[in-house]
Symmetry: D2
């Protein structure tokens, strides 16, 4: 049996050293270290396709650059419409602001700030969004899949010198999926043009499924990284059913298993479904992703 080795910290310690120390501990610390090991293995394994699913308002919380960096190692990216909307907003030059979870929401409403826990966004962003979609609707509406639609947004931003997740996925041709795109500010912008009489879109609901399943099906090995569960996790999980099960897995969420939802379900549950290999290397990290993800990722650089 392996002994618990108490964590030692010291001045000027590197993140990688702290995470290594955590590897000697138990509880969540050990899981951070395991996640670090599995992430390194997954990224180094040439036969492995990496599926990265990100729910939660990660962009407003300041996780954009960490996500962009990780995308260099990723073969499939799935996220929420919210994250992409906030990414677009920042690509258009707007910002998110620091707030406090105890702020008076009626006051914020009067001042036209939207609150996301301890982060704020000004309603002014909507003007830039409106302009963007007003100008580019005709190009966008011809897309036949959500992926194509999102790549088109990325392309437009890229040409304008923008940076961000949409731009990165477009430029690096990282397959980007967002099945819930209608449920987002981007969806609202498209709706606004459609009801405004600018025409219908061709974006088809089931069009992207073949792409993601095909990658899962044809790769030798698969690795999954789930931030926050939600639709991104589930969409990747369902494609894993068409693989031999993921070989590597990292899940970071504070959702609980007990309420039975997919977001809080431990990765082990996926073995029954064939989504995870029973001999796969995987770990559930029960932690705020804004803490755990930078810590884990910085430790493997």
């Amino acid at each position: 049996m392996e002994e618990i080795e108490p964590i030692n910290v010291r001045k000027d310690m590197k993140v990688s050293e702290l995470v290594e120390e955590m590897g000697g501990a138990g509880f969540g610390a050990e899981k951070i270290s395991l996640a670090s090991e599995i992430m390194a293995l997954m990224f180094k394994d040439k036969e492995c396709k990496v599926f990265f699913g990100v729910a939660g308002a990660m962009v407003p919380a300041g996780m954009k650059n960490v996500i962009i960096d990780i995308l260099d190692e990723v073969d499939v990216f799935v996220t929420t419409g919210a994250n992409l909307t906030h990414d677009l907003i920042e690509s258009l030059g707007e910002k998110h602001y620091k707030g406090d979870e105890n702020m008076d929401d009626s006051e914020l409403n009067k001042k036209r700030f939207d609150r996301i826990y301890n982060v704020l966004m000004s309603n002014n962003v909507y003007e830039k969004l409106e302009d963007f979609f007003e100008k580019h609707f005709n190009e966008l509406k011809e897309s036949e899949s959500i992926k194509e639609f999102l790549f088109k947004i990325g392309e437009i931003l890229s040409k304008q010198g923008g940076k961000g997740i949409l731009v990165k996925c477009y430029e690096k041709k990282i397959p980007l999926f967002c099945p819930g795109i209608a449920d987002s500010g981007i969806g609202l912008m498209m709706w606004g043009r459609i009801v405004g009489g600018k025409g219908k879109t061709k974006v088809n609901v089931f069009e992207d499924m073949n792409d993601i399943i095909d990658i899962a099906w044809t790769s030798k090995k698969n690795g999954v990284i789930y931030i926050g569960g939600g639709l991104p996790k589930n969409f990747i999980q369902q494609s894993m059913q068409f693989s031999k099960g993921a070989d590597y897995g990292i899940q970071i969420t504070t959702d609980r298993a007990e309420s039975g939802g997919s977001s809080g379900a431990p990765l082990r549950e996926g073995i029954s479904w064939g989504k995870m290999k029973s001999k796969g290397k995987f770990v559930d990290v029960s932690c705020d992703a804004t803490i755990a993800l930078p810590l884990i990722y910085a430790s493997i650089l």
Copy 2:
């Protein structure tokens, strides 16, 4: 100030009496009672349109009939593809089974059972699903919106004498939205036919948005009930931005506010966005929905 009145329980007590007693208490008990009051008000208010969003694997967990009953009071229903897939499975005569969260998932995989926390589903269901979609694909693929597509499934099931959520929504013409339908067993079945060469569908990603926003926009008052957060909550929340804000709100989830996601965000946060009226009657119930929802709903009958 109002005094805390300790809860008194007694033999043969009715659910409505227990919930009334909870109204004298603090912590979560008081919130159950508040939710009961708000649900009763919301359902009685003739001017109020009720938006009901259900995430989580509520159908496998045995919540189908409670949801079906509540649908009688509901003007808009939004749920996950998973719930609708499990509803379809049960409408086709298949069942879910009791399991245990500590079961050996490798064993379950060999026996071809999929685990959802302490609930199991046999892989045999997929044969019936395959048959259903094989037979009805041609009818289904013509749908132009997800709502139309789901109503079509409900119609087919209804004609076969089926019961369930899809049938109920179809028969009662309750607007039913599921923006993430591609992320579900139903999505997989459609994909299977499409890649099998049976043709493309016409289901458009943005087509339903007008319907839900139109209801929110034109109604005098709106009430929202969120089970488990996720995409159903968010999709209703975004339509509320086009109303004057919801007048009534009930949220039941065990997700936390601290991790910043929409699912765990208290309803109060919606005031800043204009999704909830600052003078609205609303309550966040931090509880497993399989406990809280039957308790609250039974108390107002």
Copy 3:
């Protein structure tokens, strides 16, 4: 395999009927039903000694009467000093009040109200507490164990016609343990007299251990009910190590297993320690106790 039977609710349904319906479901609903069955078995089993541990601010939250009722079935009661202090406060005629978790704490401080989530207590209670201990210190200080000390408080209150948990335990001679009594308002009141020069007490830290361990050791069977974890759970758990392991167990808490503390540890973990029998009947209910406990207890009356 047992099929999931969806929960059916109806008008004028009894609590016992709702909990029975929950027995057909999965997730937390099934656990409520299991807890109801186990509680009924535990209370009916003449060979079984029932150990009831209550942490959390259950008395301020209005759970006093439910606890008092359950005490009729209980052989050992362990709770926090906080619960006993709040019980004493109510026995002295003071009240707790309804508040809101979003209240301004600085304002409350100015108005001299102490907040416990959504419950308030006036600082005026301290005057009555001071009077009580000033008057009875001499009787109390002679106690040699915490149990004797608490029984003495119960006796004084009983003679004054008081009601409550302390009175009930005294009158029914239910062994009452509170190892953390110094960590409470009662502790502060004793300290106030001691530093005021009224003499020292004889209350010995280790004196009660023999009593609780003796009951666990000599009984044929043991049942445990844990509300909220904390010191009450742990104190009972450690006495179970001297039994053959508990035969019955119910745990109600929202604390998580992942952070490794005793409060959130599932009962199953106790099997490794010999605190729970591997063939024992036990269930972990992940729920706010102010919701779950009245629901479960009302269902078995």
Copy 4:
């Protein structure tokens, strides 16, 4: 308003740099950074007495050395009997081992290993504990307060060349409180000797209260650090009522506010009680302490 600055990570980054980057973010990451700032301020403030409360099984989880290091900055230490028992066990040369939360507890019981989430302890430790208390009972039983009793254990260990928390507190004369000592392996060992006829102890329940309250009362400023809540938090909180309220506060726990217990109550709630200054600098970190505490502490070295 302050803009959110996305976190940037890089190779060979120091922990202090990562935490600084987190300061630009929102959600939990920002709270880690705030905790780091507050901890640095608290430790540098010469007028401030630091109260450190540690619940949860932190020693088995490998947090012993982090706690020992932090003790250099601490004026009052409060912990559970469990942490001190596990510290004593390690001081006597025994170890904790790595396990897994999904292990078979019946098997572990047969192999005589006790499980604490993903950490194991061999039952062999009890022999060394028995020997220790058999040998030193006579010295220990004369202690009149729990602090004196614990210092005596620290002294014995120190003379034997032992290391650990008990030794550190004894050697550095850091006031060490543990009101729930009877609820622990150390308590059991004392009980074993008492029932074995080796005599009674003099350890008095209320004896330590004066010491801790006196420090809170007489210091110019107070700072509090709570790991995991429980009795250690509450015991410090009650002493803060006799100060002008804490000037600095850091709380690390995954317990929730909603269930109303002291462990999950945000520090803000303490303002109503006078335990926290309304203008104090404080932060609630919702995170596994084995992750957050090493991260925060390493960042200020």
